[in-house]
Symmetry: C2
């Protein structure tokens, strides 16, 4: 294939700041790289939002028929505490605090990250490479950059020469920053005296004697700069230029800006054709961050065990809530919004259950082809999931009307509507029926009704002073493991 099933797809390219038609380099193949977590602490809900955005992109591209190689990395070395060139390595610091070997920290939080991705039903990437597994490729890239004259060694570290690069290439193009402005906004950081310009950034850092994570290199023992790993790994698995690079908005500068510079300096070619950035999650209007005390973990969200939460919400409720907002907009988390999403999702899931039970009519009184077309149009318009979900609710209204006998659809049209919901709700939005919870709720509610009937009959028997009958009912239930308890408020039951 060379064209998607229902195209064309338009995506907002944050490099050009325009909505552009998506044309892959080598259709039907698509190369997609997404910046993964630094595994030194638990992920919070803001992280989940970002990964969910690109999960939906991956799902949509796959749905359109593309063969996507989806690479999402794990940063297990090199990410320093202040996000630039200074401070301790985030993982090494945590290792010191928890008194563990750094790789034990990496393992612990990688496992935790995977648990969260599974909980929110994110698909596994095709490749999940780690920075420590690509030291050789990173050292090779540093060597190419040095050889091309865009980096220099100083005291065992290697720095990228930003002013020199900027003479020839557009440093700051992605983030919209200007070299002059950046110059006036620098602050003193560690290693500053080694840098020719305060804008320069480390692509290889010399390791101190006490440093826990270090490897031999042509410049002595050290470790790679944080920005380098993504350049080295995307080049290795997707080629020097690939289709889409995604990440959270906070990564635009310096991380992604530096990725571009590294690739251009090393291999003379811009690495990415479409840059995409997801927006932030706020809580009651404030940025979600651990330091603000509002960066609750997925677990807190599910249990409701956090002062900002009125109650717990299921993982699919959270996912649905996130997708009801466009990825490029900020999304504000509030209990009211979550409860609205919870109801909305329930309504949609109920309609989907009804779909397979609708009675076919003789004519079609609703235009399902048009609904389908509008769903595709919304997704092809820069992954507009909120509009697509609104269209699906139009479908929900149709389903409910057919169920109530107020509207007719023929058998084939009902089948087409079913296929549309299956594709959009489960494959593309990545929602799933929360079976366990649902089934248990259904089961409990039927049980409640059944036992309630017996309680009523027993009360009747008692009222008639037919104690033999009322005792018989109690005993019958006891055999089934159901215990009746008589109290002031009436009779309740529980399992033995």
């Amino acid at each position: 294939m060379s064209e998607p099933k229902k195209g064309p797809l338009f995506l907002t390219n944050t490099l050009t700041r325009k909505k552009e038609e998506f044309v892959p380099l080598n259709p039907p193949f698509v190369g997609l790289y997404v910046c993964g977590p630094t595994v030194y602490s638990d992920v919070h809900l803001g992280n989940v939002r970002s990964f969910t955005t690109f999960d939906v992109l991956y799902r949509w591209l796959t749905h359109l028929g593309y063969k996507v190689r989806y690479v999402r990395n794990i940063t297990d070395v090199g990410h320093l505490v202040d996000d630039v060139d200074a401070g301790e390595d985030k993982i090494a610091k945590r290792a010191r605090l928890e008194q563990l070997e750094p790789m034990e920290i990496v393992q612990k939080y990688t496992n935790g990250f995977h648990d969260v991705m599974r909980l929110f039903n994110l698909k596994n990437p095709s490749i999940e490479p780690t920075a420590t597994a690509h030291l050789i490729e990173q050292i090779g890239m540093v060597e190419r950059i040095v050889k091309n004259g865009y980096a220099y060694e100083a005291n065992g570290s290697v720095y990228f020469d930003v002013p020199k690069y900027a003479e020839k290439f557009a440093y700051g193009e992605l983030s919209g920053r200007k070299i002059d402005e950046l110059m006036t906004n620098t602050r003193d950081t560690e290693g500053m005296e080694e840098k020719r310009s305060p804008l320069d950034f480390a692509i290889w850092k010399k390791a101190d004697a006490h440093h826990l994570m270090k490897w031999p290199s042509p410049w002595g023992e050290g470790f790679p700069g944080w920005h380098l790993e993504c350049s080295a790994m995307s080049t290795k698995y997707l080629g020097q230029t690939f289709d889409v690079h995604g990440g959270g908005m906070d990564l635009k500068f310096p991380h992604h800006e530096c990725e571009i510079a590294q690739s251009v300096a090393a291999d003379g070619i811009a690495p990415v054709r479409y840059w995409m950035h997801g927006n932030m999650l706020t809580v009651n209007g404030r940025k979600m961050a651990k330091s603000e005390g509002n960066g609750f973990t997925p677990e807190e969200l599910l249990t409701g065990n956090h002062k900002l939460l009125d109650k717990g919400y299921s993982a699919m409720t959270v996912r649905f809530f996130m997708l009801q907002c466009h990825y490029a907009s900020t999304l504000d988390f509030s209990n009211e919004a979550m409860q609205a999403s919870e109801k909305g999702l329930e309504r949609m899931m109920k309609a989907i259950e009804l779909l397979s039970k609708l009675k076919p009519g003789a004519v079609d009184e609703a235009d399902i082809a048009s609904l389908e077309q509008r769903c595709y149009a919304a997704m092809n318009d820069d992954l507009n999931t909120p509009v697509m979900i609104a269209e699906l609710f139009e479908g929900v209204r149709i389903i409910n009307s057919v169920n109530d006998g107020k509207l007719a659809l023929t058998g084939p049209t009902i089948e087409r509507l079913k296929q549309l919901f299956d594709a959009m709700v489960f494959d593309v939005l990545g929602l799933k029926k929360e079976e366990g919870a649902l089934r248990q709720a259904q089961g409990d509610s039927a049980m409640d009704g059944l036992v309630g009937e017996f309680i009523r009959m027993r009360a009747e028997a008692k009222a008639k002073k037919d104690f033999a009958a009322s005792d018989a009912i109690r005993e019958k239930l006891a055999v089934l493991g159901i215990v009746l308890k008589d109290g002031k408020e009436g009779t309740t039951w529980e399992r033995a």
Copy 2:
């Protein structure tokens, strides 16, 4: 602490072929290395058995109070098809067949492996390092071996010089092989002409032009020999000498034998104090292997979807079945044995449920301290899980007798028994209640009983020609989502 809570622990050291008291190098710390999977295909039940053996060792050491650093690797490069120095890389071959990049194969089967480990309730290791993430360490080790004169380069590959090593050290000590016998049993393999002796093995292999996974090295582009990764990674994370190395019996030779030689040749010290090997799983008396058509996957086992399976078995039934056999004995899989384990596990879980409902008596008519002591003794005797489980069944008999009022135990003794079962069944054997299945089964059975009562009442009403009453019952149930179906065999029900 310096002593385990209830010691001492004895383990069979396959290096000395003796049961030895386990004394860690630096108590309370224990270093444990276990050979993980080569991620080029789905794991089968035989693999699960091996990993479960060392999962129980990890759990037992932890239970005794040791702080265990448990390293289990992922082999993602270097394991060649014929398990020695010839043939294609297993992962590269699979990549070619599935038309994927090798790292996509690695990701796919690593994910699958993790799913299986989770299913069978194996604990995550502290570190799960991959071979490709330790190229630098492996190259460093090759350099040390060459420098010490126990390896030589030939045409871009580096071979370990077995005869030279054997002049000074005991090559074959672990597997009980003699150099002379090995010499007469060699066969021609690829690269043979480069080797000085047919016993020599590659620690670095030159990559052909078409080779997919290769890295630069002092000897040109290539990849590490399979045996090398475990030596390099165990040294990195556990030190040059560490406490326990485990693996399946089939890894004893050449893999573990070569690991010893590599460490001694590189660093002059034997790497492992206690070697442990788990035995095979057979099926109806024959070795489990994919080529035999009897290497069923965990999924086939759960669904029963395999010609050798009478029905599906739960993951915990399988785990229990495995632990009812000592790890060093072969275990034969049969439907009869599985069904016996299924019943046994059910009996044990029912007794555990009873434990919290037992009525305390005035005296103790059973010796729980002795039972506890026997459980510890069994585990400390080379992890004798079958004997420990037999002791637990003695506990089950006691529980049932107390429940039947035939035996008395005081409150504190019941509590002690409960703690023993919690520790041994859940923490040490790693069994868990299969909640979903159990709850659903319980729920369904109670529902069945309740609805059955209504069906009986309705039949009575019909017999009395009281159709108003019988219809009322049908309608009441319909409201609760329960549909009655009248057929030749009587009335049945299902959920709407």
